[in-house]
Symmetry: C3
Subunit: 249 residues, 3 copies
């Protein structure tokens, strides 16, 4: 269990908080594993009905920890946490709400396409600058982003690396509502509570009907991981990581 | 032929009006059957080129009649009208325009995803509060809603039960234009007329090219009906129907 | 090589300009062929990294040359240029940017759904009035338009023939940004330059992941061409072409 993931359960609502503020909430493998484990626990047996993921005030996540990327590049493959996290995202049957304030980079943006409801503050910034790091899309974003918002917008984010504001994201359909930052968590918890009061069999069956593509999503993720792993080892990726790590030393 | 469905044909335009104002235009099985029969008649042989469905001023439809839901729950299956209506919606080859003023609840919203053009007034309200009744999506909405507007918005309507205004619906892509209520019918009839003047072979071939998924849509509807029927008989659904019927006694 | 297509390569950016201002940049078969040939050349071997297509100030394209349509109708099939252009659009692995000012009619609109990034001026007008000419959708627009913006909007353009402004197109997701007309080309070239500096293997792999449906797109195009060719020979289409050609004599 990672120190950088804080988990609290209040009645039937599990709140998973990314808490690594000194590193802009960048995800280590251990952090992915902790989130995946918590999400997988959220089944009827455990009395959890709704999951909420948030960051800290002013920061959702800077994305994958770059020094971990560097290690993956050396080893030639990912650690198991990230794979477990992706698979869990793609197959979760319980409701998942995201509350996003500040930067939501890389996986911070791509996980939004798996969430059921996404609330963001006016300060939220979405970006997937994979190409700038010599990398490629992950988390089935190469399928889910064009499906949700059309090819031109998906390419604008995934290849050109343009930032989207909360308003842009709302317009593109992957954020539900913009909420002032001092109300973000209370609003999201209220919605979680509202959801948790609804007949559980309806909620589960509704999500199951909406998410009939789980198997395909997993296939896309696998193909993306294969290409991503190859890209990780490219000259361009290694140079981008070194440059980043030197800058932040 | 239901008294609550009024059908008029003017030149080549068939106007189907839902007229059960005292019950907020709630659909009975007989009403579904009448609409289905009228739509099915709209083929070249009958000289009908375009179909328009509207409600009464201030109300499109409150959705399925709740006392009918109660009966279905007792019997364990739907009456045939609703199934015929859904199948007809999913396979109609003639153009279908909706003119929506006031509430468009349940099937009132989900039928919009089958229509070719949808006009709504600033007073239109779209909602699919299936989960609040212990129910689940129908009319292939579990497939068509996320396809049209992304998963997060579809979940917001289908599971959380949030209301969408005409503006929200426009932004989400399932309403074409917002029209003042006193011009809604004349505008919609004008558009119907405009369509009816276009080469019929082009119109039919265009719709056929756009709707290549008919078979899949019918499969989704069947699966949804199966789950919906099970949910109808749940404790939560029966309690919701009883509570509603007591309130409106 | 058509006189009406001007091609310039600056460093790694190929700028393809439609230059037939006296005929509103209407496409002849030779012009399609020239654009297709240029796009196909844009592979690593040739040192081209990004393609940009623009029209002349105030006009992107009026669409297919109507007198060519008339000839196709007489012959009963297309000339090879258009088919080569469509196939190239559907299978291009290099980045493609469109810069659109003024009318973008027919293929001018439908090619936007194949581009990776689309910039348009406030004066841009998008329209696909196929039905008004007795014709039907092409360039896989019957699949890509509803996929990108939902059925109701696709039908509004493809069957009803409604014009979309740059703002409408932005909202519908097939234009990325609105750019003042005097900055359109410089902005688009800047973006092309920005893209061209990114790791090429990332760009290529990203587009490949985003465009997994190439085979299906080609199948749709083939089916559309078959129906379009039949419609070309219809009484209504021939009458529309004659009327147009008489007006512009």
């Amino acid at each position: 269990m990672s120190d950088n993931i804080s988990i609290s359960v209040n009645e039937t609502i599990q709140h998973i908080q990314i808490c690594r503020a000194d590193k802009m909430n960048a995800f280590t493998d251990e952090m992915y594993q902790s989130v995946a484990t918590a999400l997988k626990k959220s089944h009827k047996a455990d009395g959890i009905k709704v999951n909420l993921i948030s960051g800290v005030p002013g920061c959702f996540t800077a994305g994958n920890d770059i020094s971990d990327f560097y290690t993956y590049a050396e080893k030639g493959n990912f650690s198991p946490g990230i794979i477990d996290f992706l698979t869990t995202l793609g197959t979760l049957d319980m409701p998942l709400i995201l509350a996003i304030d500040g930067p939501a980079i890389g996986i911070g943006t791509t996980m939004a396409f798996h969430a059921d409801l996404v609330y963001a503050t006016p300060e939220a910034i979405f970006a997937t600058p994979f190409a700038d790091l010599g990398l490629t899309p992950e988390a089935a974003s190469s399928y889910l982003m064009p499906k949700t918002m059309g090819h031109a917008r998906a390419y604008e984010m995934l290849a050109l690396g343009e930032k989207y504001s909360a308003k842009d994201a709302c317009r593109a359909g992957f954020v539900n509502k913009i909420i002032p930052s001092d109300e973000l968590i209370s609003h999201s918890l209220n919605i979680a509570k509202k959801l948790s009061k609804k007949p559980e069999s309806s909620l589960l069956a509704t999500k199951q009907l909406l998410k009939t593509e789980q198997e395909y999503i997993l296939t896309v993720m696998e193909k993306e991981v294969e290409i991503f792993t190859k890209q990780l080892q490219s000259k361009e990726a290694k140079a981008a990581f070194s440059s980043f790590l030197n800058k932040t030393k």
